[in-house]
Every structure is written in structure tokens, then in C-alpha cells.
């Protein structure tokens, strides 16, 4: 039978993607799970695996073309499955289509499971537009150009090669990379101000953010608690290790400490590391801590995830934060980098602002807002001294978490931050 594989929702709330590279060509044998195509969306670049074992009989779309979720990507001829068995095979697709855990900005998206099948016939093959769908070839590039493209997050298929036979060489990658940088800058060009208003279409990422924010606010009754914690000791620890980390080429901000402290506190207060499953009338408690970090990029907000944040050292966290924010800026985050978060931290303080009412990354149970460090008069042992104060804003889903738990969680978190050694001692 012939199976049409449609572009599935890859779980990041975007409804279209651009073909970056075909890994298969017409006539090729594929096994279930083999990568078929590299798709690029506004936020991620990801490989789409084949759902079936069989022979590719048609490929839809060329490199650079945009495919909407639910539209066909490839047709696969599945051998030895005919008639009723084929019907059955096709049906099972609806149920076996993988349901991706929520990833991306906020929340779990619906996952498309549109499968269909066509009977095997020459007629079908004739309609597959052979000429227009010639398999895309792996772009010709020198070994070093390939490695450098990967390093710099440049999609080598988009680079025009200037070497013999159009081979992409080192200088092409360098040139593309520097002009790509400029292209990002150009996005901030001031619009035509002679008109009273200007209209611009919504980008994919903005649409996703809008949809997810709305869903979060509609589904989860938010409650936000604001607190302040004096962190002079943390300031001195950080300034001491900053230089040491720099020698290892890792930038040390306060964020790794906040991530670590939050992760440890979550291990103690599991309701904040949970999810409400209304449909089945049950709670889902996560026994691991995957910390989402909201990153501000030119294109919009993205939330890459640090897996097992509670188990990582400050150094490892610092390294990983550097890495994911670089990837976010260059738009080279992979889908797996953004999946399966259990709690989120939004560090708006790095730009400015003291307190906020952050919106929960639904269906997670809470989000911690981290404000700008400020020097303030604080009272210690009945003396007024100059202290360094960290503002915190914690928003939770009030359906799951009561006021008492929020406060207890925050108290624990503040203890960790006020006395960074305690992070080690617990």
C-alpha cells in the first residue's frame, strides 16, 4: 500500500516549517525512525523521522519550500500490506502518532495525526510530479566549511558556493555568517513613519507566543507572590569565581545559582514541579527537574530547557546556560533542546525591572521571575547597612498550589540564595 506521510506538528506550536535538507530520495528504502528531512521553523531545526518502513515513492517540496502542518511530505510504499491489512495499518497511525510533550514558549499543542493511504497504482505514481520533485542533493562543501557552518549555526544549504563546481568553501561560510548577523540587525529597522499606523503580518513565533500566553491565562488561575532576598554573600561568591570561570571561557552570571537553588527547592516542594491532569482527574508529579530558561531573542521569546538541573554543578549550569542562549540567538536550538520542561525561570532582571507577574509556561505549575539586583538599605542586627537585594516574583497555578506552599517554597529558595554554601550542604 501507499502511505502518505504528512508534516506532523512537531510540538512547538508552529504550523509551518521550511525544508532545510532532504536525507532521502525517491526510490530509497527507509526504516521506521530513519530521518527523512531536516525541517526548519522559526525556532528550531529538527529532523523528521519516518513513521514507516518501506520505499519512498514521492517527495513533496524542495529545499527552501515552506510546508504547512498536515500537508504531505513523502509517500512511502509499504510492502506486503494490502487490502484490509492496509486499512488496519493506516488506522493504527492515528493512535501511534507520537504525542510530543509540551515544548516551546508555553504549553502543549495539539498534535496532528492525519494519516491517509492511497492504493498502490501506476496512476498514483504518475501524479507524483517526478520532474519537479527531484531529490535534493547534499550540498557540495569542503570538510572545514562543513565543520565551520555547524559551529556557527549556518545552514550550509543556504550558502552559495564560490569554489570549483559551486563548492562551498570557508570564505563563503564566513561571508554568509557575517551577512546573516547583519540581516538580524536589519529586523530592527524603523518602519515607515509617514503613515499613522503600519501593518505587519504576524511571524510564526509571535503567533505561537500569543496562542500559548492566552491558553495559560485561560486555563491556569495565576497567583503571584513577590519577595526580596539579601544576597551579599552570593555576590562575593560569584565575583570570586567569575574570574576563575573566565579562564575556562565560561561566563558566570547569577542565573546558574538561581537555577540550582530553584531546582533544589523544587525537589523539596513537589507540587511546584507538577502538572494537573483534569481529564483523568489526577496530578502528575515530576521526579526530575528540567528547568526552562526564557531567552529573549530578536525573533521573540524562546524557552530552551536544562535537563536534570538539580543534578548539575554550578559550573555545568553556567556552561549550559551560555550554550543554550547562544543557540537561541542563532536559531540553532533543536526540538529536543526545548522539550520536557517541568518549571521555568524568566530572568528579566538581566534587562531591567524589579517585579513582574510572569505568565506560567502552561501546563507547568509555576514560573519564577528574577528581577534586577539592587543595592538597598537593609537591616541586619538592628543596624542599617547597604545590602544587595534580589527581587523575586513567583507565579503559580492556584488550582494546584495553595498560598502556604508557595510561601514555604519561596522561603527555602531565599535561604539558598542568602547563604549560597547551603546549596552545597543540603
Amino acid at each position: 500500500m501507499r502511505y502518505i506521510f504528512n508534516f506532523p506538528d512537531i510540538g512547538e506550536g508552529l504550523d509551518e516549517g521550511t525544508i532545510a535538507e532532504w536525507y532521502v530520495e525517491k526510490g530509497q528504502q527507509v526504516s521506521s525512525g530513519d530521518a527523512l528531512v531536516k525541517m526548519e521553523t522559526d525556532k528550531v531545526v529538527t529532523d523528521i523521522p519516518s513513521p514507516k518502513t518501506g520505499t519512498i515513492v514521492a517527495i513533496y517540496g524542495k529545499v527552501g519550500e515552506t510546508i504547512h502542518v498536515g500537508n504531505p511530505l513523502v509517500e512511502i510504499e509499504i510492502e506486503g500490506v494490502e487490502g484490509e491489512a492496509a486499512q488496519e495499518e493506516a488506522k493504527t497511525d492515528f493512535t501511534t502518532e507520537p504525542i510530543e510533550e509540551g515544548a516551546g514558549v508555553v504549553g502543549t499543542m495539539e498534535v496532528a495525526g492525519n494519516a491517509a493511504f492511497l492504493p498502490s497504482s501506476t496512476e498514483g505514481a504518475a501524479q507524483s510530479k517526478d520532474e519537479e520533485n527531484k531529490p535534493a542533493r547534499k550540498s557540495l562543501a569542503t570538510p572545514v566549511a562543513r565543520a565551520m557552518a555547524k559551529d556557527l549555526g549556518v545552514d550550509i544549504n543556504q550558502v552559495t558556493g564560490s569554489g570549483p563546481a559551486g563548492r562551498v568553501i570557508i570564505s563563503d561560510i564566513k561571508k554568509f555568517h557575517s551577512s546573516f548577523g547583519q540581516a538580524s540587525m536589519e529586523k530592527t529597522i524603523i518602519p515607515d513613519q509617514t503613515e499613522l499606523v503600519s501593518y505587519e503580518p504576524l511571524s510564526q513565533i509571535r503567533k505561537a507566543i500569543a496562542r500559548n500566553m492566552l491558553e495559560s491565562k485561560q486555563q491556569a488561575p495565576h497567583m503571584t507572590v513577590h519577595e526580596e532576598v539579601e544576597v551579599s554573600e552570593l555576590v562575593s561568591v560569584r565575583s570570586k569565581y567569575k574570574a576563575i570561570y573566565e579562564e575556562k571561557e565560561v561566563k558566570l552570571s547569577y542565573l546558574p545559582f538561581v537555577v540550582k537553588a530553584t531546582a533544589l527547592a523544587l525537589k523539596k516542594f513537589r507540587t511546584l514541579n507538577s502538572q494537573l491532569d483534569m481529564e483523568n482527574e489526577r496530578m502528575i508529579f515530576k521526579n526530575y527537574v528540567n528547568m526552562g530558561i526564557a531567552v529573549d531573542t530578536v525573533d521573540g521569546l524562546v524557552v530552551p530547557v536544562i535537563k536534570d538541573a538539580d543534578k548539575k554543578s554550578i559550573f555545568e549550569l553556567a556552561q549550559e546556560i551560555n550554550e543554550i542562549s547562544n543557540k537561541a540567538q542563532k536559531r540553532t536550538l533543536k526540538l529536543e533542546d526545548m522539550q520536557d520542561g517541568t518549571f521555568t525561570i524568566t530572568n528579566y532582571g538581566s534587562i531591567g525591572g524589579l517585579h513582574a507577574n510572569p505568565v506560567i509556561n502552561y501546563p507547568q505549575a509555576g514560573i519564577l521571575g528574577v528581577g534586577r539586583l539592587v543595592k538597598k538599605p537593609v537591616i541586619k542586627n538592628d543596624n542599617i547597612i547597604i545590602g544587595t537585594v534580589q527581587p523575586l516574583s513567583l507565579a503559580v497555578d492556584h488550582r494546584i498550589i495553595d498560598g502556604g506552599d508557595v510561601t514555604r517554597f519561596l522561603n527555602q529558595l531565599m535561604e539558598y540564595l542568602a547563604d549560597p554554601i547551603s546549596i552545597l550542604m543540603d
Partner: protein, 448 residues
């Protein structure tokens, strides 16, 4: 217009450009003052390599009994200059015939005579006016004159070497560069007393000092006398006086570094202090439509770089996209052992700010080299450490000038040490040293 392209000079730049132009259907005329093939074919690359091969053959006879050959009495063996010249001339004739045939086959008109440029698109040759849309100057270069204190009667220019009936005992060579080293060894190998008046800090000024220093030591080992000087004080009683040194000298051969040769012209063609014609990135001179390729533009003094420019400029004229990397071509020195280099020297790599490493592998650990009895030498592989890209390769080996082609290919495609290490090399071959150096760069050489 009568012609699409007028090419002045038929050396490896001009004749190759002419063939390419013919292939692309351009109406082409090639003007040559002396002989088709230029310096390279007639008095340079080809005949000198032929002589060097005779000398190497002669010298190796020494080892015949060691190789299991009896009956060669070295006292009875002597070098026959006339026959060696004859052999060289036959090769030159054969190759020259081949070039003329190719030019004709591709519809190139050949005109023997001296061209005088009369305007942006006209030249006169033997009182004939020739008009063309484009003009290419490929007139080459010539060794700078030797010091004025060297009397004319003992001076021989390189292109007059073959006019000599015999070679006297005491030979003095001047200059620097591959030619000096090659010719010094040649005369030494055929039994002459050889002195080099070296006018540069390095005998090969554009090689990695590692190679240049090696070569200078090698020449001294071969009992060639090297005097670092640019000055000759006088000549008397069969001796050159150089500072405090008295050098026995029957003949001085001018192997000096070169100056550009500009054709006579009614319009002003700019040249630099050494007679080279400056060109832009498209190899065009300051005059629209007039190009300069090969030695005459001063970008390189090597035949293969000149030919590459010839092909490039014609493709460019025809609008065919092609690339020319004049930083990436081999430098070959046909000494014993041969020396070859491609890419940057260590100092250049350091200057560019690369983190790099050097991996060496000696010929003494190579089976094929041992069977040939030619185990002197090594390969040096210089790569940057981030991607492992090969930035420079230096080879000292009997066949280094052929072996360097492999390095050229890797570097042309911006290859890495991983590519070298993973390329299976046939055994036994001398080229295995390249793979070993690759292994060494990636992790560890197998046979080291």
C-alpha cells in the same frame, strides 16, 4: 576587430592562455619573439631538469655494486656534456612540437616576431598592424644583471648555457632561489668545483626557513662553497675577489632573481622598480582591456602559477566563473633530494594567529624509501588545531616534487588531517609518510 585576443609571449602563461582561448572559440593570435614555449620549455624548467636527471644518473652509478651490479668501473665512467645536452634538446623539441600542434589544433594563429604595443588594442609585428578586442601581455622575466665587476667574457646567461661546448672546472653561480640550488648541485654532481655567491639571507627566499636551511646545509655537505654576498670586488688571474675571499672561477652563471620583461610600447605601461607590471584582481593592467599574466606581473615566478593565470584570464574574458587562488600552488626544488612546499610557512601561520601543530614523519621509517636506497627526508604537516585543516605541507624526498600534488589536492578542497589519515595509501609507497603524518596529527603515527 580582427582578433578577440592578442597574446604577446608564448611561455607557460601565454601558450596555455592561447590554447584555452582557442578552445572557447575566441579568435586568437599568439606572438613570440624567440621560440614557442618560452623560457620554461626552451632554456628553463624542461632542459635543466633533463640535465639534472643525467647528473643524478651519473652520480648513482657510484652505488651500483651496493645494489648488486658488478662491472661498472667509476674510473672509466665520465659525464658527456654534449650527449646530455642532446638528450635535453630532443625533449625540448618534442614538447615544443606538441605545443605548436595543440595551438594549431585549437585555431590559434602563431606569429614569430617582436610585438610593439601601439595602442590599447593594437600591436605591430614585423610592420604588420594587428587589432584585437583584448590584449594579454605574457612576456615573462629575465635574471637581473650580475654585479658589474664580473667581466663579460666569463659571464653566461642561463639561456646561453646550452651554447657552451664544454663546462670548465671552476663554476660560480650568483643569485638565490631554486635555480641556483639546482644548478649548483648539477655542476657539482658532474664533478665541477662550485661556488655560490648567495645574495639573500635564504637560498630559497620564499620557502619555509626550515627547508631553506636544510638545503643550504645539504649543498655544503655536497662540497659546494656558499658565500653570502651581493658584492664582487674584482676578477683577475682566474679568480673572483669577493671581500677577503679569493674564489677560483672559470665561468659565472647568472641565476639571479628576476625582473619583468615589458614589450616595447607607444603607450605608457606602468611597471614597478623591478620591471613588473602591476595588475588588479582580474589581472588587468592600468589600461582597460590589457591584461598581464605570468612572471611579468610579478605575482609568481613559477610556470604552473603562470599557466593557471592564463587559463583563468581567458575564462574570465569569456565570462566563465572560475577561481584563482594564487596563494595555493606548490613550490618545487629539483635538488637531491627534492624539496617541495605548499601552503603557508610556519612563520606565516603563526602570524595569522592560528593555533597550529606540526607533525613530521621521516623517510627512514618508510619501506619503499629504504628499498630505493633513498631514505633521506621527511614530511612536515602543519595543521590548525580547531578543525584540523591542513595549512602547509613540506616534503623532503627523492620524489617530493611529485608527492606534493597529493597535499595540493587536500588543500584545494580545504581538507583536514582526518581526511589524510583516513585515506588508505598503497603499500609500499613513499606517499605513506603523508598518511602517517596524518595519523600523527589525529592521534599517533603507526610506524613511529
Amino acid at each position: 576587430m580582427e582578433y578577440d585576443v592578442i597574446i604577446i609571449g608564448s611561455g607557460p602563461a601565454g601558450y596555455v592562455a592561447a590554447i584555452r582561448a582557442g578552445q572557447l572559440g575566441l579568435k586568437t593570435i599568439l606572438i613570440e619573439k624567440k621560440q614557442i614555449g618560452g623560457m620554461c620549455l626552451n632554456w628553463g624548467c624542461i632542459p635543466t631538469k633533463s640535465l639534472i636527471e643525467s647528473a643524478k644518473f651519473y652520480r648513482r652509478l657510484n652505488q651500483s655494486s651496493k645494489f648488486g651490479i658488478d662491472g661498472i668501473d667509476m674510473k672509466k665512467v665520465s659525464f658527456n656534456w654534449e650527449n646530455a645536452k642532446k638528450r635535453a634538446n630532443l625533449i625540448v623539441k618534442k614538447l615544443g612540437g606538441g605545443i605548436s600542434h595543440l595551438l594549431k589544433k585549437n585555431g590559434v594563429e602563431i606569429l614569430i616576431g617582436e610585438a610593439c604595443i601601439t595602442s590599447q588594442n593594437t600591436v605591430t609585428v614585423n610592420n604588420r598592424n594587428i587589432e584585437g578586442k583584448n590584449m594579454i601581455i605574457a612576456t615573462g622575466s629575465y635574471p637581473k644583471p650580475v654585479h658589474k665587476n664580473v667581466p663579460k667574457k666569463i659571464l653566461v646567461e642561463l639561456d646561453k648555457l646550452f651554447d657552451l661546448d664544454q663546462i670548465p672546472t671552476h663554476v660560480v653561480l650568483t643569485g638565490h632561489g631554486p635555480t641556483v640550488a639546482e644548478m649548483a648541485q648539477f655542476f657539482r654532481f658532474i664533478g665541477k668545483e662550485v661556488t655560490v655567491l648567495l645574495d639573500h639571507q635564504f637560498i630559497i627566499h620564499d620557502a619555509d626557513p626550515y627547508l631553506s636551511d636544510y638545503l643550504e646545509k645539504k649543498l655544503i655537505e655536497d662540497q659546494i662553497k656558499i658565500i653570502h654576498t651581493e658584492q664582487v670586488d674584482s676578477y683577475s688571474n682566474g679568480h673572483l675577489i669577493v671581500g677577503e675571499q679569493k674564489v677560483k672561477c672559470d665561468i659565472v652563471i647568472n641565476c639571479n632573481y628576476r625582473n619583468g620583461i615589458t614589450p616595447p610600447s607607444d603607450i605608457k605601461i606602468d611597471t614597478d622598480d623591478n620591471g613588473f607590471i602591476p595588475t588588479d584582481d582580474n589581472l588587468m593592467t592600468a589600461i582597460e582591456g590589457i591584461y598581464a599574466i605570468g612572471d611579468v606581473n610579478g605575482k609568481s615566478y613559477l610556470a604552473h602559477a603562470a599557466s593557471a593565470q592564463g587559463i583563468w584570464v581567458i575564462n574570465h574574458l569569456k565570462g566563465i566563473k572560475n577561481s584563482l587562488n594564487l596563494k595555493l600552488y606548490p613550490l618545487n626544488i629539483y635538488t637531491t633530494p627534492e624539496i617541495a612546499q605548499i601552503g603557508m610557512s610556519e612563520a606565516e601561520i603563526k602570524n595569522e594567529g592560528y593555533a597550529y601543530k606540526i607533525n613530521e614523519f621521516p623517510l627512514s621509517a618508510n619501506g619503499k624509501a629504504l628499498t630505493e636506497g633513498l631514505q633521506e627526508g621527511l614530511v612536515r604537516l602543519i595543521s590548525e588545531t580547531k578543525y584540523g585543516q591542513v595549512l602547509g605541507v613540506q616534503i623532503i624526498a627523492e620524489n617530493a616534487t611529485d608527492m606534493i600534488a597529493e597535499a595540493s589536492a587536500y588543500m584545494q578542497i580545504e581538507g583536514t588531517v582526518y581526511d589524510i589519515a583516513q585515506t588508505i595509501h598503497a603499500h609500499p609507497t613513499v606517499s605513506e609518510i603523508f598518511m602517517e603524518a596524518g595519523f600523527d596529527a589525529v592521534d599517533k603515527a603507526i610506524h613511529k
